[in-house]
């Protein structure tokens, strides 16, 4: 049996009380929402919070508001979003990303907040304690060396969230609340460069709201690569958002994920595409440029060389779908 370690369990009633408890308990406390990422991590002894602060009774962080913008409470389940017909019509790329996460049963449990704050993943990390001891622990947890890149001073564990690249491409903002106050950041600002320090969110901050601005005439698409049609995390992912002016690109956001610790905003590709017609030649060139930003290492399913190649194929398909 892979049992959970022991912990103190608290279940506050709202976001403010959650923040207060996090401050009181200090850095050994962690939020648990659906538990679908945290509990496996606790069983494998990656993350060992002394106190679990559960959001199960925190109803002020559930629900979706749709005005011009779409505001999603962090504690909304993935299934709740999947069943939201208006969300499916208004933000089909986000809906596709949500619907591609794991399995229907898991989506009954997992939340979008947990998906945004998902721990980074690596073949040498997502293993039980005995396995990790067997080859000696790695830098991300309990050890000193990176088994993927032994000379590296940073960890290359992969941001494997499906919703994150779409949220970044759509220009979403995250609201973070602590006893020190509230702040709102651009989605991309949430993520750190290193697989160990993968979030810029402070430990006492609660992610409360995800706000996606009015998308106007822009259209978006999400493409996920994985071995099986269910269960699997992405091994490469592309989110693209394009706003056209006639047949020319007025504005474009292109984001890669699951190819490194931080989602990659393809800035030079975006610049290249602006003002151009999405001809097959332009799309081909953009795909080549974008793939340069992807530096996958061999720490997920599939070979890293193949993942790099497939990034450019998927960028082509994504832009092709938006043409």
């Amino acid at each position: 049996m892979m049992r959970l370690p022991s912990f103190r369990y608290l279940a506050p009633k709202d976001a403010a009380e959650t923040a207060k408890i996090l401050t009181g308990e200090g850095p050994d406390a962690m939020i648990v929402a659906g538990g679908t990422d945290l509990y496996p991590n606790m069983k494998r002894r990656h993350q060992m919070p002394k106190t679990l602060v559960s959001l199960r009774n925190v109803n002020d962080l559930r629900g979706v508001e749709m005005n011009g913008a779409v505001t999603i409470g962090s504690n909304e389940t993935l299934r709740g979003l999947e069943r939201n017909a208006e969300l499916k019509t208004r933000l089909p790329a986000l809906w596709t990303a949500v619907q591609s996460i794991s399995t229907p049963i898991l989506r009954n449990m997992g939340t979008i907040g947990g998906n945004v704050c998902l721990d980074t993943r690596c073949n040498y990390y997502n293993q039980n304690w005995e396995w990790r001891r067997g080859i000696d622990f790695c830098m991300k947890c309990d050890g000193t060396v990176c088994w993927v890149a032994p000379s590296s001073s940073v960890c290359w564990a992969v941001n494997s969230s499906d919703t994150v690249p779409v949220l970044i491409a759509m220009g979403a903002k995250f609201t973070l609340v602590s006893t020190r106050g509230e702040r709102t950041i651009e989605a991309i600002e949430m993520f750190g460069e290193d697989g160990i320090d993968y979030l810029t969110k402070q430990k006492d901050e609660v992610l409360t709201r995800i706000e996606i601005p009015d998308q106007g005439n822009a259209t978006s698409v999400y493409r996920k690569v994985r071995r099986r049609g269910a269960f699997d995390f992405p091994v490469a992912a592309v989110a693209a958002r394009v706003e056209m002016d006639g047949d020319e690109v007025k504005d474009v956001n292109l984001v890669l994920n699951a190819v490194g610790p931080k989602p990659v905003v393809c800035e030079s590709t975006q610049e290249f595409l602006k003002g151009k017609k999405l001809t097959p030649e332009v799309v081909e060139e953009a795909a080549k440029l974008a793939a340069r930003g992807a530096k996958p290492l061999d720490n997920t399913d599939h070979l890293s060389m193949w993942r790099k190649k497939v990034v450019s194929v998927e960028v082509k398909r994504a832009l092709g779908a938006l043409r």
């Binding site: 049992r3 050994d28 229907p104 049963i105 309990d142 269960f231």
Partner: protein, 184 residues
């Protein structure tokens, strides 16, 4: 995130021996249960309530054999705490049969050979029951999607889909989707 185990030390075992007392509503009955607070619902059901119909597979959310219904929704009991399970209606495979005998799904699974080793069967039965609650005549496509969180190593899935479709047909003919599935 931050490692808290000491390298080289053994994985910290659960140290808390004090048990939590709680009332869990399982298969339509309130049960007073005492369990150690770090236990998952799967462990509480199997070890503290002797309800071993819910199977113990990967323990990490990767197989679906531990599926139970919580307020009618399929959930993975290996990733829910016992502590988080109060105030909800929990249904396990032991609760599927009604006063008139087995649930139509249980009959068709047996008739069509949708269970071979049977290890995945409780999870499939409960997920299928929830699907048929929502959709009395699900398409094959819906079934494939909705059951994609339950793995089966034996049947190749075809017989499982056929058994669910036959049960759905019989339930429609009887005119009531919860026939045989209600609790005493």
């Amino acid at each position: 995130m931050n490692p808290t185990t000491e390298a080289g030390g053994p994985p910290p075992p659960p140290t808390s021996l004090a048990k939590t007392h709680m009332v869990l509503r399982v298969n339509g009955e309130d049960h007073e249960v005492a369990f150690r607070p770090h236990k998952t619902l799967l462990e509480v059901l199997r070890e503290d309530m002797d309800l071993t119909g819910t199977k113990h597979g990967c323990e990490l959310g990767e197989c679906g054999t531990c599926t139970v219904l919580m307020d009618g929704e399929p959930k993975l009991s290996c990733l829910v705490l016992g502590l988080e399970s109060d105030g909800v209606d929990i249904e396990t495979v032991e609760g599927m049969a009604g006063p008139e005998g087995g649930h139509p799904l249980q009959h068709t699974f047996a008739e069509l050979g949708a269970a071979q080793c049977g290890y995945c069967t409780p999870g499939f039965l409960l997920t299928a029951k929830a699907v048929l609650e929502d959709d009395k005549d699900p398409s094959r496509e819906t079934l494939v999607e909705e059951l994609s969180g339950n793995l089966c190593r034996c049947t190749g899935y075809l017989k499982i889909y056929e058994a669910i479709e036959l049960a759905a047909q019989r339930m429609r003919e009887k005119g009531s989707s919860d026939e045989g599935g209600s609790h005493v």
